[in-house]
């Protein structure tokens, strides 16, 4: 009641102020839509110029108590009349502070570019959107209570001009109406309250009305929404939206019973936010919905070629005053949002949130342009605060320029496209792949260099020299072993030739083979000499040398015996001795050969282990 009384005083104060202009509003029709949490007032004003001067601006007045909720204001006019309505022309609107006006009023001026001549008239459509103008009353409710809100308005159109005829209709949601102010000419049709018509009211007429009604629609308010739009010229626009959501309706008090909520969801917890619908552009992909502790599994997605709808459900139903925070992200095809004009590229993308039920206290839109973008400018359909940042991401060297746009009190009407113009050379796209390629290239080159380089710190240190010598010794020993192995192989071949001999009796062939092998063996023993000499000189070989020498000795012994056996056998064949006789003659030699062979093999193993 106190508030109403204040308003009354205020009205009286207003009425004492003189009229300032010659304009007359011949007809005002206002429709107030209270079915959602934002209040949309559509006014049709028929403006007449009753004076003699050309008038180029029309003033719209709002009491400060309303003006602080004002989020969006647009004035337009449709040319032509009746069925031949042309396209709407919207006029620029700005806030003004005219002199001599009563206090506690905020004025917006609609500039008419053509002006309004004497006697001319103009029909002006004014759309005003208020955010947070519905106040919950009572302010705290329990889970079982319904949510009631009050709405304050004036029954008479508040204007600095005289109004001839006016009417007002208030559209309410289909629910209970607790109370509303009844003055003359008040009618109610279902969920619509009608005030008026009222005629010939002087400027600044004011008659406060209050509507108190049930509103169970969710009061989802994003206290802060940060939208990050990252442009990648590889064909992707990545949008990430961080919501900080609160239920702005009547505060919940007392218990929250899940049981009641599940059993009678529309009675117990009627005003809770269960889900929100995000209307995403078509061809959206890679959508996610999460918060800082992980994915939120309660979401649903469907779509066709025109749009994609995502139903997102917060982790818990949100009652009045409850908060939550989450992030949604999605990718869009670049060609739908990036265009080119006059050598410049521009991004054309929507400003507001894709969730239409949400109003936003502070909206920050960040457009991250590719690294190397220059000459950046922004064109937005309404005033926004602009800034610039740099963001480092994915192997950036100088960082990506970020255009930061900030706007408070954002309502779905702000969901319009804005443009960011910039210059970008396609060659810059190749920087990062080239960096990666060269990075890996150098990595491998370093590896190769490392494998081939000798990284010993001191080339003259004893341990290093010893290591070198040891390597040499090992190499020499290896060669010795190879030679011995080849000798042994030749022995095997000699044996084989003897076997051939016993089979075929071809003595000549056997002899020639013997000659060839003799030559080979001689070569090998020649090869062996320098190796042994080098081993003898090397101090590192002291440990291994005796074994090697023993090996060489044994092998030579073996070789001699082998030759002796071979000669004996060949001789016997030449003498045409019998097989048994040969065997007897060779038997002793054969035994020794086998024993020696065994020793040589053992020595080889031994050296191998050392």
């Amino acid at each position: 009641m106190g508030l109403r009384f204040d308003l009354l005083l205020f009205t009286i104060a207003l009425l004492s102020v003189p009229v300032l202009s010659d304009l007359i509003l011949s007809r005002v029709d206002r429709r107030i839509d209270l079915t959602s949490q934002v209040v949309r007032t559509t006014s049709t004003l028929k403006v007449e110029n009753a004076g003699s001067d050309l008038v180029s601006e029309v003033l719209l007045a709002f009491p400060d108590s309303q003006a602080k909720h004002l989020a969006y204001l647009s004035a337009s006019s449709t040319e032509g009349k009746g069925k031949a309505k042309g396209s709407a022309v919207s006029f620029p609107v700005e806030i003004v502070h005219p002199k001599g006006m009563p206090p506690a009023l905020t004025f917006y001026s609609v500039s008419l570019p053509k002006g309004l001549g004497k006697g001319d008239s103009l029909t002006l459509d004014v759309l005003v959107v208020f955010k947070g103008a519905l106040q919950p009353f009572p302010e705290k409710i329990t889970q079982a209570d319904i949510q009631l809100v009050v709405f304050y308005e004036t029954a008479y159109y508040l204007s600095p001009y005289a109004v001839k005829v006016q009417s007002l209709s208030v559209k309410l949601p289909d629910a209970r109406i607790e109370s509303f102010t009844k003055i003359e000419n008040t009618k109610i049709h279902g969920s619509e309250i009608k005030y008026g018509p009222y005629e010939n009211l002087p400027p600044f007429s004011y008659s406060p009305i209050v509507v108190h009604f049930e509103a169970n629609q969710p009061f989802a308010i994003a206290q802060e929404l940060v939208r990050e739009i990252e442009i990648s010229h590889w064909g992707n626009v990545q949008v990430t939206e961080h919501y900080n959501l609160v239920h702005g309706g009547a505060q919940s008090k007392g218990e929250f019973s899940r049981l009641d909520f599940q059993a009678r969801p529309h009675v117990r917890g009627a005003s809770a936010i269960r889900h929100l619908v995000a209307k995403l552009p078509p061809r959206v992909h890679s959508i996610y919905y999460r918060d800082e502790i992980g994915n939120i599994s309660t979401s649903n997605l469907w779509g066709d070629h025109k749009k994609t709808e995502m139903v997102i459900e917060p982790r818990y139903p949100m009652f009045g005053g409850w908060r939550t925070a989450f992030t949604i992200g999605y990718s869009l095809p670049l060609q739908d949002f990036l265009f080119q004009s006059d050598g410049k590229r521009y991004v054309n993308i929507s400003f507001g949130s894709p969730v239409n039920e949400v109003v936003i206290d502070t909206l920050i839109v960040k457009v991250v342009l590719p690294e190397g973008s220059a000459d950046i400018s922004v064109s937005a359909p309404f005033p926004v605060k602009q800034g610039q940042e740099t963001k480092f991401s994915h192997l950036d060297l100088v960082g990506r320029p970020v255009v930061v746009l900030e706007k408070t009190n954002v309502v779905p009407e702000h969901n319009q496209h804005f443009q960011v113009y910039y210059k970008f050379s396609s060659l810059s796209m190749l920087t990062e792949p080239l960096m990666l390629i060269s990075g890996f290239f150098f990595l491998f080159v370093t590896c190769i260099v490392y494998m081939h380089a000798d990284l010993s710190i001191s080339k003259s240190s004893p341990s290093y020299l010893a290591k070198l010598q040891w390597d040499e010794v090992q190499a020499a020993v290896q060669q010795v072993r190879n030679i011995i192995n080849r000798c042994l192989m030749i022995h095997d071949k000699l044996e084989a030739s003897l076997r051939d001999l016993s089979r075929t009796g071809d003595v000549q062939a056997c002899k020639s083979a013997r000659k060839a092998f003799d030559g080979l063996l001689k070569d090998l023993s020649k090869d062996l000499k320098p190796l042994l000499a080098s081993l003898q000189t090397s101090p590192q070989a002291a440990q291994i040398l005796p074994k090697v020498e023993e090996l060489v000795g044994k092998e030579r012994d073996l070789q001699e015996r082998m030759m002796a056996k071979h000669s004996t056998v060949v001789d016997s064949y030449e003498k045409k001795s019998s097989g048994r006789e040969i065997e007897n003659r060779v038997a002793l030699q054969q035994q020794k050969i086998t024993a020696l062979r065994q020793e040589v093999d053992d020595l080889l193993d031994l050296i191998d282990e050392i």
């Binding site: 019973s257 818990y316 409850w322 994915h394 090992q474 190879n482 084989a496």
Partner: protein, 748 residues
């Protein structure tokens, strides 16, 4: 000419072998990494379970505030009102590792969140661990066994259970550190290189930083050293050291003898000996006194339960209450190491022929870890690498024998063919056979030549030697061709079974993050995300400084996800504090309210599975609360909560049980869901169905009722009640009132 060709061929073959084993190792790494991603694919990239949330929170703090702040971090959001010195009580290895990785990535401007880094730390380190296993086994038994062991370790279920993506726990990096330390130890032993010894010390330091299991290394390595000394296998090293010490002692004695007169020397000797005996005796006495004076005889509870498996269940309920501290059952061996359990004995036998320092070490490792795993199911993790190494050695040896048997009996590669003139061709056949077989049979040949290759030595006709030699030497080991083929087939089958089991275990058994549960029903997958629902609610809808009381299991998660101060958490360092919470949960409502109020608690969180059948809820853990509470506060007696020794919550339950806070908070208004109050976990109707809460109010219950949060009602109401009472009864005191409530308390 022929000779040079063969030598080229062999060099190529060894190079090919090296490249092949390199690629196999890379693939093993990829396998180890990717088999652990089931949790990310089936669920999401999220931190799992309880302890990882603490580590995650610490890592976040580290990346945000830097290492010095981390070092000096006093955490006042846990163990309220005591707090916890985090910097001084954590193993910082894991945190610093992940922090370094994150720092490295972000300094390269790769925008990965700390969470992502934490989630993938474990899989990355399992790849490292399998490479370390390769190195270790290679030192013991050659490259073939190494590859086999690495492949086995990459997918051993026991290790997977602790290192799936998201399981961001100390074990994730510690197992790598453990194996790598062992590898460096053996490498040092084999080479005697100071370089490896230094690396070994550093790796050991890292291990100590990472996990309490370092005590295993600190005991195992000295044990092995002792074993080496006893068996004098490394005689040239240890004997020389011993002699070195003895010579010095003798020299000292002679020196003293020289400067003193014989008489004085005798006196000095008796003096030194008697002083020594006295000092030793004193030290011994002090030690005994110290040990005897402490109740646990100088051992921590966990170590004692290692020596005596029944210790914890007898004396320390808080250790026994953790399921991973229980002894494992036989099926869990089969589940966790599968066929390896059967291969280990064969591996041990293979290690004995011949017994070297390295192989004696792994034998010691497997023997001790088998014992420890038998005591605590958690230590199965230490057994797993040992089992993998042993099985790798066993499989590799088996493949070696069988493939060699086949090779020598294949037509074209027999001795007869070698007598023919075309030797090179027969050799190449052998070579091709060698390569064509699985990578495992290349081991014996590959390792030795690989060294030579690196030195770029010209070797000629080296192939001749092994073939000639092996003919003579290894003929004894040749088995019948058919038997070998069948045996190889069976081994491959065994391996396949192992792989199938591991993949199943990774996909089904060990990938659940435990904070998100899923169930399959007729209408598809159902997700239970109640824990995060509750934590998110707490984090957004309570005051920043509110204290939340819950059983300690949920402490880490509450601090990490809800960012609220908790009374107790999974660190369980203060038994009394936990007992206080346990007492409150097992007390009647009013007493509980008083305890909680004295702790500044504003919200009480309970986990309740009765509606959806989630078995590990607080009612099932409740007896531990009673036991732990009763251990400190004797007025809580376990028998009061049991009916004839049975724990029940149905109509047969004791009045104490039906009136305790936990029962009330869990079942508050539960009866209204189905009218009968049927608990799906306990499979019974609850005992007391209709009751009201006087000191608590329900503020939040999650979608499936799995988490219920209650708020302590402000004391205002109570005072008004008291005022009314004092009006009616002017002389009534609080003392009489308490008696009055106590009389009221017992049910009926």
């Amino acid at each position: 000419m022929a000779a040079s060709e063969t030598s080229k061929e062999t060099i190529l073959r060894y190079a090919f072998g090296n490249v092949l084993s390199f690629f196999i190792l890379v693939l093993i790494g990829v396998l180890a990494f990717s088999i652990r991603l089931f949790s990310v694919i089936k669920y999401e990239s999220v931190i799992h379970e309880f302890d990882p949330y603490f580590n995650y929170r610490v890592t976040q703090y580290l990346t945000k505030n830097g290492i010095y702040d981390f070092w000096n971090w006093f955490d006042d959001r846990t163990w309220y009102p005591l707090g916890r010195v985090i910097g001084g009580t954590v193993y910082p290895g894991l945190t610093l590792t992940a922090g370094t990785i994150w720092w490295l990535l972000s300094s390269l401007n790769i925008p990965l969140s700390v969470e992502t880094v934490c989630v993938f730390t474990a899989p990355i380190f399992s790849a490292f661990a399998s490479w370390a296993t390769y190195l270790l086994t290679k030192e013991v038994k050659g490259a073939g066994a190494g590859l086999m062991a690495a492949a086995l370790l990459a997918m051993v279920p026991s290790y997977i259970s602790r290192s799936v993506a998201g399981s961001y726990d100390n074990e994730a990096v510690a197992i790598f550190a453990l194996i790598f330390t062992f590898y460096l130890y053996i490498k040092t032993l084999n080479t005697g290189s100071l370089f490896y010894a230094t690396l070994n010390a550093i790796a050991y330091f890292y291990m100590v930083c990472s996990w309490g299991g370092y005590t295993f290394i600190i005991n195992l390595i000295p044990m092995h050293v002792l074993l080496c000394i006893v068996t004098v296998m490394t005689s040239e090293h240890f004997a020389s050291f011993l002699v070195f010490i003895i010579i010095h002692v003798v020299a000292l004695v002679y020196y003293i003898k020289g400067i003193l007169s014989p008489k004085m020397f005798k006196v000095a000797v008796t003096f030194v000996v008697s002083i020594g005996v006295v000092v030793c005796g004193a030290v011994l006495a002090v030690l005994i006194a110290l040990v005897a004076s402490s109740p646990t005889k100088g051992w921590s509870g966990r170590s004692l339960s290692l020596l005596d498996p029944t210790y914890a269940s007898k004396y320390i309920p808080i250790i026994a209450s953790v399921s991973e501290h229980q002894p494992p059952t036989w099926p869990s061996y089969f589940m966790d190491i599968n066929v390896l359990a059967f291969l280990v004995p064969a591996g041990i036998i293979a290690c004995f022929s011949p017994l070297s320092d390295a192989s004696s070490f792994v034998i010691l490792y497997i023997v001790t870890s088998v014992y420890f795993s038998g005591v605590m199911v958690r230590l199965m993790l230490v057994l797993a690498p040992a089992a993998c190494i042993m099985s790798g050695i066993a499989l590799s040896a088996a493949f070696d024998v069988f493939t060699r048997s086949i090779k020598f009996q294949l037509p074209g590669a027999t001795e007869n063919s070698e007598r023919d003139a075309g030797e090179t061709s027969s050799n190449s056949v052998v070579a091709q056979n060698d390569v064509a077989k699985t990578e495992k049979n290349e081991d014996a040949v590959k390792e030795r030549p690989s060294k030579k290759n690196r030195k770029k030595e010209k070797e000629k006709e080296n192939v001749e030697k092994p073939s000639v030699k092996s003919q003579i030497k290894k003929k004894l080991l040749i088995l019948p061709l058919e038997a070998s083929i069948i045996a190889i087939f069976l081994l491959v089958l065994l391996g396949a079974f192992y792989v199938v089991h591991c993949v199943w275990a990774a996909a089904e058994a060990y990938s659940a993050p435990s904070i998100v549960l899923t169930s399959h029903s007729q209408d598809g997958l159902h997700v239970f995300d109640d824990f995060r629902e509750a934590y998110a609610w707490l984090s957004h809808n309570t005051e920043v400084d509110d204290k939340v009381a819950s059983w300690w299991d949920y402490g880490y998660q509450t601090t990490a996800m809800a960012n609220r101060t908790v009374i107790v958490d999974n660190n369980t360092w203060n038994n009394t504090h936990i007992a206080t919470v346990g007492t409150a949960m097992s007390s009647p409502e009013k007493a509980a309210w008083e305890i909680f109020n004295s702790l500044d608690v504003k919200y009480v969180l309970v986990v309740f599975g009765g509606l959806v059948g989630y078995p590990s809820d607080d009612i099932n853990k409740f007896l531990w609360m009673v036991r732990i509470g009763g251990g400190v506060f004797p007025h809580i007696k376990e028998p009061d909560y049991l009916r004839d020794g049975q724990y029940r919550i149905d109509s047969q339950a004791t009045p104490t049980m039906l009136n305790c806070l936990m029962y009330k908070l869990s079942y508050y208004r539960f009866v209204e869901t189905d009218g009968k109050a049927f608990d799906r976990v306990r499979r019974t109707e609850i005992g007391k169905k209709y009751f009201k809460l006087t000191h608590f109010e329900e503020v939040f219950t999650t979608h499936h009722w799995m988490v219920r949060i209650y708020k302590l009602k402000p004391p205002k109401n109570r005072i008004r009640g008291r005022a009314k009472k004092s009006k009616s009864k002017a002389s009534s005191t609080t003392g009489t009132k308490r008696i009055g409530t106590k009389k009221k308390n017992p049910w009926h």
